[in-house]
């Protein structure tokens, strides 16, 4: 056999006219062949690269979290070092696109083995079979130390459908300079937190001092209407009655909660740029840091305030209360999807990634709250203002159990959208509290029935 290389190789097509570079030009057939080959390779590549593949290969979709990303990468490297032959591939997924992305992937059975998702999304996927039960692969009592509200999200019919990674809730931020001028002292006591009427009075005074507004609320987009729900529950209301089907938002307590909130906008204590739909990720913080409001209702994300305003100019108190205390529940959960080719290995990795040491390291870096009961800010060792994180940790105990149950339902995302729609209409002055309650109640009936 003659080796065909170098100058010994005959020209491929001696009769073909040379191109302007002197080399033989591509033929149409050659181009078509190359295009067909490329397309086939691309299709095959696309088919092989997505979703759970080899039995020793785990794909893990995570959000675009600047702190979480490196942390998850570190954990993946540790696991691969301990398990030669196993590979873990991290896939960043923009948070806003998670649903569209994941639903279509699951439908095509091409979802990653593990997905890190927000707590509000978990209910849908555990209910519709998008995630698998990993309870058998976890050590006994693995979730015993977790917050009950978070356990309610992932435990279903005796199975475990995910492992909470972190949590968060809302409390009241205040500008110390503005409160000093008003002459109001923070309570710093969960049981004696300001009442709804008191926070309104403070907001009125703050508006007088700022010359703009009194209060900002941590809405971030049209799906964040659920961040109003603590008001409903602290006024003694609820979305549904105990049967879980009959809307209860039209009850007197619900109307009272809606009316209290409506007045905040009608009196321009909250700016119109801070309604559910007008708000962006940083709207509430921008209003707070620029001194246009004296109070802000938001979650524990105050690391972004560092280097923006001096520490002595702001602080955090517990969320106001009315007939009872309440706050919202957020955070993230890692789940194993039904597309996983090796759910046992994925569950083993999840257990490895979710040891208390690793979870505490993550929340220490991110400033979020550990998903466990009985863990204080001192236990975690937060570097920045641990005393304020502790207030959020204390506040977490006021998550209404019924609200957490609703959040674990399959339709919670539709409910969030519904709340966003009709609260927004009320906030811009296009609907009364009663009309809003009726519209939401009708939507809730449609969702459940």
């Amino acid at each position: 056999m003659v080796p065909v290389h170098g100058s010994t190789a005959p020209p491929a097509r001696a009769t073909r006219p040379p191109s302007r570079t002197g080399r033989p030009g591509p033929t149409r057939r050659g181009l078509l062949r190359a295009a067909a080959g490329g397309a086939t390779a691309a299709l095959l590549g696309a088919g092989c690269s997505a979703g759970g593949g080899d039995r020793d290969h785990i794909t893990w979709a995570i959000g675009l979290d600047p702190v979480g990303g490196p942390h998850f990468q570190r954990i993946a490297r540790e696991f691969m070092d301990r398990n030669p032959g196993v590979t873990i591939e991290l896939t960043p997924v923009p948070n806003g696109d998670l649903n569209a992305w994941l639903v279509t992937r699951l439908a095509a059975d091409r979802a990653p083995d593990i997905v890190n998702m927000g707590v509000s999304a978990v209910g849908r996927y555990t209910t519709n079979g998008g995630t698998v039960d990993i309870g058998d692969q976890l050590p006994d009592g693995f979730l015993d130390d977790y917050q009950p509200s978070l356990r309610a999200l992932v435990e279903k019919d005796g199975g475990v459908f995910g492992i909470p990674q972190e949590t968060n809730c809302a409390a009241t931020y205040y500008r110390t300079d503005i409160l000093r001028r008003i002459g109001v002292e923070p309570r710093n006591d969960l049981e004696r937190a300001w009442t709804a009427e008191e926070i309104r009075e403070i907001a009125v005074e703050a508006k007088r001092v700022t010359g703009a507004y009194g209060l900002s609320w941590g809405y971030i987009n049209e799906s964040s209407g659920n961040r109003w729900l603590p008001v409903l529950y602290m006024f003694g209301g609820s979305l549904f009655r105990e049967d879980g089907r009959t809307p209860a938002i039209g009850d007197p307590e619900g109307i009272e909660a809606l009316e209290w909130t409506r007045r905040l906008y009608a009196d321009e204590l909250i700016p119109a740029s801070n309604t559910v739909k007008a708000s962006q990720e940083d709207t509430a913080f921008s209003l707070f840091t620029t001194g246009q409001v004296g109070l802000m209702i938001h979650e524990s994300q105050f690391r972004s305030l560092k280097d923006v305003i001096p520490d002595e100019d702001w602080s955090v108190d517990h969320l106001f209360r009315e007939r009872g205390a309440a706050t919202n529940l957020s955070g993230s959960v890692n789940v194993v999807t039904r597309s996983s080719r090796n759910p046992e290995l994925a569950a083993e990795f999840l257990a490895f990634a979710s040891t208390p040491e690793r979870i505490l390291a993550r929340v220490r870096d991110s400033g979020a709250i550990a998903p466990y009961t009985g863990v204080t800010a001192r236990d975690v060792g937060y570097a920045y203002r641990p005393d304020l994180v502790q207030r959020f940790i204390d506040q977490l105990s006021t998550v209404p159990p019924q609200m957490a149950r609703e959040q674990a339902g399959p339709d919670y995302q539709a409910i969030r959208q519904l709340l966003g729609d009709f609260l927004d209409l009320m906030f811009i002055g296009s609907a009364s509290a009663r009309e809003t309650a009726d519209a939401i109640a009708e939507g809730l009936r449609n969702v459940r029935n």
Partner: protein, 316 residues
């Protein structure tokens, strides 16, 4: 030009009469007849897989109820019936039509004016062309976020500039009346550059001899524009019209980021309603029905424009 004068252009004689004889001896066998189909095949395959199949699947899904995951149930035309009774669908449809009616002609007219301006010698012409076109290549999400900062009522650039100039602040994103106006302004910024570039290319391809002939016939600037330039731009205008309508009917990312469909439902458009029905509410059947209607809307418009355009051609 007088209507009585008949001008018969001197056409070159058919090639067959003077040129070499056609190669009639060449056998047009199966390869010859198959060749067009072979060349069409890649396009047809791509169209079938990525367009036709999804459309057929969407039509089938529109007759079902249930999520994409889990159980589905055949419901016939219930989703379409529900659509008729759904006030939010009509709101979204109306908003879509208003948005389209505002963005399409405005972007084309402004694009044409810019193209006419940049078609004549002027300093910085190349730079200006780039500047006008750049927004087209910026992602809609990025534009939405920047626009949200510009139009924010409390700390936005625009209102601060207005306040500095002693003018009243605008409720750009917070008033239901202004919401759509703001969205249209934001979209125009991204789209006029695209129209400008295509019109510019079309303007430069108009033969000078036509314009000179019109001048010799005594046509003024407006008459040259109206009777020479505009007809010559007709194919580009038709293309831009269809493409811009498609863009407007599919406008999603910028609106989603900028207003979230608000204030209230003031800027909720059909494509956004489809998205939330599918992915927030998990109602794939209903979302598919909305998608089918949206597609029909687009096809109807395209056929209508094509039909009217054909009549124009016939009358010319």
């Amino acid at each position: 030009m007088s209507g009585t004068e008949t001008v018969t252009p001197s056409r070159p004689a058919p090639a067959a009469a003077t040129g070499p004889a056609p190669r009639t001896g060449r056998r047009r066998g199966p390869t010859g007849t198959r060749a067009p189909y072979l060349f069409l095949t890649p396009s047809l395959v791509l169209f079938g897989v990525f367009s036709l199949f999804p459309i057929v699947a969407a039509v089938l899904m529109s007759t079902q109820q249930g999520a994409v995951l889990g159980q589905t149930e055949y419901v016939g035309g219930d989703n379409y019936q529900r659509m008729v009774d759904d006030p939010l669908f009509w709101t979204a449809l109306r908003n879509t039509l208003v948005f389209t009616a505002a963005t399409v002609p405005l972007s084309m007219v402004i694009g044409l004016l810019l193209a006419l301006m940049l078609n004549r010698p002027m300093p910085g012409r190349a730079l200006l062309r780039t500047v006008f076109f750049t927004p087209m290549v910026v992602s809609g999400v990025g534009v939405g976020m920047v626009m949200a900062w510009i139009f924010n009522g409390d700390y936005g650039v625009l209102n601060n500039a207005l306040a500095t100039a002693g003018l009243p602040r605008g409720e750009w994103l917070t008033s239901p009346d202004m919401g759509m106006v703001t969205v249209v302004l934001a979209v125009l910024w991204t789209r006029v550059g695209f129209c400008m570039v295509l019109y510019l290319a079309a303007l430069q391809s108009i033969p000078h001899s036509l314009l000179e002939a019109a001048s010799l016939d005594g046509a003024g600037a407006w008459q040259r524009f109206r009777h020479v330039v505009v007809p010559q731009l007709s194919p580009t205008t038709f293309f831009l019209l269809v493409v811009n309508v498609v863009f407007s009917l599919q406008a999603f990312d910028l609106l989603y980021v900028l207003t979230g469909g608000g204030p209230g439902f003031a800027t909720t458009v059909l494509i956004q309603y489809i998205y939330r029905s599918a992915f927030a509410n998990g109602e794939m059947g209903y979302a598919s029905a909305l998608g089918v209607v949206s597609t029909l809307l687009l096809i109807t418009f395209t056929l209508l424009r094509w039909y009217l355009g054909r009549n124009d051609e016939d009358n010319r």
